[in-house]
């Protein structure tokens, strides 16, 4: 299964970067959304996945079953999701404001500050 997920990671990264290479800022921000999902999936997949054994301790026995899923990548991904959400919220508003200021959604037109 990890192989399929690894392929999926590739697809997400490719899609994200392709979108980020578009000149339309809306596409750019969509690319960012996909990108964060892609990175999260890397963390999730690279540590190996387990079906049906969430890292919860049994209420009664206070023990866990053997071979439960690794909780640490989950915690990392959770933090990453939250951070990505904050970043994304910022970016979305940024592209809208950029659009309002520049009057255009072409990133190539937003080159007044470079040279």
């Amino acid at each position: 299964m990890e192989i399929v997920l690894a392929c999926c990671v590739g697809i997400l990264f490719a899609s994200a970067t392709f979108m980020m290479l578009r000149r339309s800022i809306v596409k750019l921000v969509m690319g960012l959304i996909i990108l964060s999902n892609a990175a999260n999936l890397v963390i999730f997949t690279a540590a190996g996945v387990v079906h049906g054994k969430p890292p919860l301790i049994d209420e009664v026995t206070k023990t866990v079953v053997d071979g439960i899923a690794d909780p640490l990548p989950q915690a990392l991904v959770l933090t990453a999701i939250v951070i990505a959400f904050g970043v994304l919220a910022f970016s979305v508003v940024l592209i809208r404001r950029a659009y309002e200021e520049v009057g255009n959604d072409d990133t190539n037109q937003m080159n007044g500050t470079d040279t």
Binding site: I11, I34, A89
Partner: protein
């Protein structure tokens, strides 16, 4: 010595306040008392001791780790320079107090002048190579400030930059050379380095020699770096007289002389000095002869002198070194005087153009008289000290070989010509049409030349005044075991005298041939602008700017998509290359094959992502991203991550809401890319995708160490008092992450809030 420098630094620091105060009382000349006192002090305290063969060394730590010490060393060579700096400096300050009377920012002028003086004193007395370099660079920057004193003129700024660029550039090479010398010799203390000749050989030593010589040559205007010096004449005349004749330009010479005991026996060292010095001598002399601006002529004549000094060091025999010292003293005396007199002419007549000046004899008799003495010294005629110096040069050349004699004679005859022209053109002949009515120069402007030339005359008549004390000690500093020698104005009829006569005759012939030729000057200018080293400098500068603009236009082209392409490739190429060359294609990890449902789940993820990418409809894309989020949540849940599933679902929902809220007023999808660009971008994107897939597969194949997670699983309930291990990690084991995370959210909120609400014109 440190006290000397401190006094001058203090004086420099006070100048901006002190000078206006003195100026309001017409007593700026009083400032000259300070260098004068120092001169007298050095003369009375150090000279007798040094003449006795004593040296003074005082060392204080500065940055011991770098071997940088505040160590000052006084021997003949440094004392000679100290005397020159303070002595000539006294008169320069006096001179400037009158010459610069009407300039604005006089305080700042003296600030930089004294700062320079302090740096120069430091340079010549430093016993630590690094310390010497520190002062070296300080002279460069203070000289920049002085050259560009008329900073509102663009030309002055440009030429000041040129001087700075060449000297600092050379300085950087010198620094590298110093580093090398330090590591080869094992110390930076000059007094230790010069204990014996450097024994080491080899390419590293050669590199070191070249680097040090480069530093010295740039500073002392040796060919091919000679061009900056005449251009530095943009500076006010006192500056030219002080920095660009008597002191700073001799720093390179000083350095070479300083290191002579250690490096003088290196073949490369002396060969380079001979060639550079020889070429510089002749070139400078020719250029001086053809110049029509007095200051230019003097500057090129200085170049000649500097070349001569280098040349003598290159010969390296005792005779040459004696000649070196003699010529150094003589030149400093007459050249500073010449500059001051030229300044007086300019100040009085308002012109420096030899072809325009004339007949000043009547209005400026004192100046004229002094000019004659100075020029005779330049021409190397008795009974001035210049004559002795020139004789010494001839003798040194004669002792070496005949080619060198030719060079020396050429230089001497051209100098004679220049000297005579300097007497004839401005002062004799008919009255010229001048920009302003000339008048005799004031006392402060003449006192300097008068005293200096008297010294020249005195030393010429009674060389005993200097040869046993100062010159002997200086020669000793350059050649530690020099034999005793005596200078005298009359050597009898010998080859040197013959050469002098020859030079005089040739010089007079050349004067006859001299035409104030604008055509020649123009040709000369064109030459130097198109092929000469100066042209090289300007071409280099132009090239740098051209390259800079070109590069910036190509690299920093303002196109985000190009930036991203480069950056993505910067990930793909090195990482991919390393992966494939050092690790190889990863094997497929041995894991359970997926079932149909898992495949469907991932298919939904892939399809919804791809649809979000290809759809031309913006909101279809957003909705598709929502579906993608749900698919990710499904994967999380299927693989035992309920917390992630919940979070993903919630975040996805809120993301879509946010997008909907924000994009109400945002543009739709526009497609700007051509088919080719789309394909190019797709290739770049796919490369990254493939790379990431390979990396994940590679990572799945290895497990170098067991995970630390077992600790969390074991202790979550006991120590963390929670059954949801993920949550215990988040709020306890790794709570700091979560703390950072909530601040990220808060910052995002603030950012969004300010972006929406704080706009131009809103309040």
């Amino acid at each position: 010595m440190f006290v000397f420098i401190l006094i001058i630094v203090l004086l420099a620091a006070c100048s901006p306040i002190l000078v206006p105060w003195l100026a309001s009382r017409q007593k700026v000349g009083l400032l000259a008392l300070v260098p004068a006192c120092l001169f007298v002090y050095a003369l009375t305290t150090y000279l007798p001791a040094v003449a006795d063969g004593q040296t003074f060394l005082k060392t204080t730590q500065w940055m011991p780790s770098l071997g940088l010490t505040l160590s000052f060393y006084i021997d003949g060579l440094s004392l000679l320079f100290v005397l020159l700096i303070t002595g000539i400096g006294t008169f320069i300050v006096w001179y400037a107090s009158d010459y610069m009377r009407n300039y604005p920012d006089l305080g700042r002028f003296f600030l930089w002048l004294f700062a320079f003086m302090a740096a120069m004193l430091g340079l010549v007395t430093a016993d630590n190579l690094l310390l010497l370099f520190v002062f070296w660079e300080l002279t460069s920057i203070t000289s920049y400030m002085l050259i560009g004193f008329n900073h509102e003129s663009e030309k002055a700024r440009k030429l000041a930059l040129q001087g700075l660029f060449v000297t600092v550039g050379g300085g950087l090479l010198l620094m590298t050379g110093v580093i090398l010398l330090g590591s080869i010799a094992g110390t930076l203390q000059i007094s230790e380095i010069v204990q014996q000749p450097l024994a080491a050989q080899g390419s590293l030593v050669n590199v070191m020699l070249i680097l040090i010589l480069m530093g010295a040559f740039t500073k002392s205007a040796q060919f091919p770096f000679h061009f900056w010096l005449p251009n530095a004449m943009a500076a006010p005349t006192p500056v030219s007289a002080f920095l660009h004749s008597a002191t700073m330009v001799k720093a390179g010479i000083f350095l070479m002389a300083r290191l002579h005991p250690a490096l003088g026996e290196q073949i490369l060292w002396s060969t380079l000095q001979l060639w550079a010095g020889g070429i510089t001598m002749i070139l400078g002399a020719v250029l001086a002869y053809t110049a029509i601006d007095i200051k230019k002529a003097l500057a090129y004549s200085t170049v000649t002198a500097l070349g001569t000094l280098t040349f003598l060091l290159g010969i390296g025999s005792q005779a040459a070194i004696v000649a070196f010292v003699g010529f150094l003293i003589a030149h400093s005396l007459y050249k500073a005087s010449l500059f001051m007199l030229a300044g007086a002419i300019d100040h009085s007549a308002g012109s420096k153009d030899l072809s325009k000046l004339g007949g000043l004899k009547k209005t400026m008799p004192m100046t004229f008289a002094l000019m004659i003495v100075a020029a005779l010294s330049l021409a190397g005629l008795p009974p001035l000290f210049g004559f002795i110096a020139k004789e010494l040069v001839f003798e040194a050349a004669l002792a070496a070989n005949s080619g060198l004699v030719l060079v020396a004679v050429t230089m001497a005859s051209l100098s004679v010509a220049v000297a005579i022209i300097l007497i004839i053109k401005p002062f004799l002949g008919s009255d010229a049409l001048l920009p302003q009515k000339p008048h005799e120069a004031s006392f402060p402007m003449l006192v300097g030349p008068a005293v200096l030339l008297s010294a020249s005359l005195l030393f010429g008549l009674w060389p005993r005044l200097v040869d046993q004390g100062l010159i002997q000690a200086t020669v000793q500093a350059v050649i530690p075991n020099a034999a005793d020698f005596y200078l005298s104005i009359w050597h009898g009829f010998n080859a040197a005298l013959g050469l002098s006569v020859l030079a005089l005759i040739l010089g007079i012939v050349l004067v006859r041939a001299w035409q104030p030729s604008r055509w020649l000057a123009e040709k000369q200018r064109l030459f130097s602008e198109s092929v000469g080293p100066e042209a090289g400098y300007f071409k280099l500068m132009d090239f740098i700017v051209w390259l800079a603009i070109k590069q910036t236009r190509v690299i920093q082209n303002g196109r985000l998509s190009n930036y991203m392409t480069v950056i993505i490739l910067a990930v793909v190429i090195p990482v991919g290359y390393t992966l494939l060359t050092q690790h190889g294609w990863p094997d497929l990890p041995k894991v359970a094959p997926p079932n149909i449902y898992e495949v469907m789940m991932v298919a939904l993820l892939a399809l919804s992502t791809l649809f979000a990418v290809i759809t031309p409809a913006r909101f279809a894309s957003i909705i598709s991203l929502g579906a993608m989020g749900y698919a990710v949540a499904l994967i999380f849940v299927h693989f035992s991550a309920p917390d992630l599933g919940i979070t993903q679902v919630l975040v996805e929902t809120l993301t879509v809401l946010l997008l909907v809220l924000v994009l109400v007023k945002a543009p739709g999808f526009s497609s700007y890319a051509s088919r080719g660009e789309v394909i190019r971008d797709a290739i770049v994107a796919i490369l990254l995708g493939v790379l990431m897939t390979l990396l994940v597969l590679a990572a799945l194949n290895v497990q170098w160490a067991p995970s630390i997670s077992d600790y969390f699983i074991e202790n979550s309930y006991e120590l963390g008092k929670g059954r949801n291990i993920v949550n215990v990690i988040l709020v306890d084991f790794r709570a700091l992450d979560t703390l950072g995370e909530i601040f990220v959210l808060a910052i995002a909120a603030l950012g969004v809030y300010s972006m929406i609400r704080l706009r131009k014109g809103s309040s």
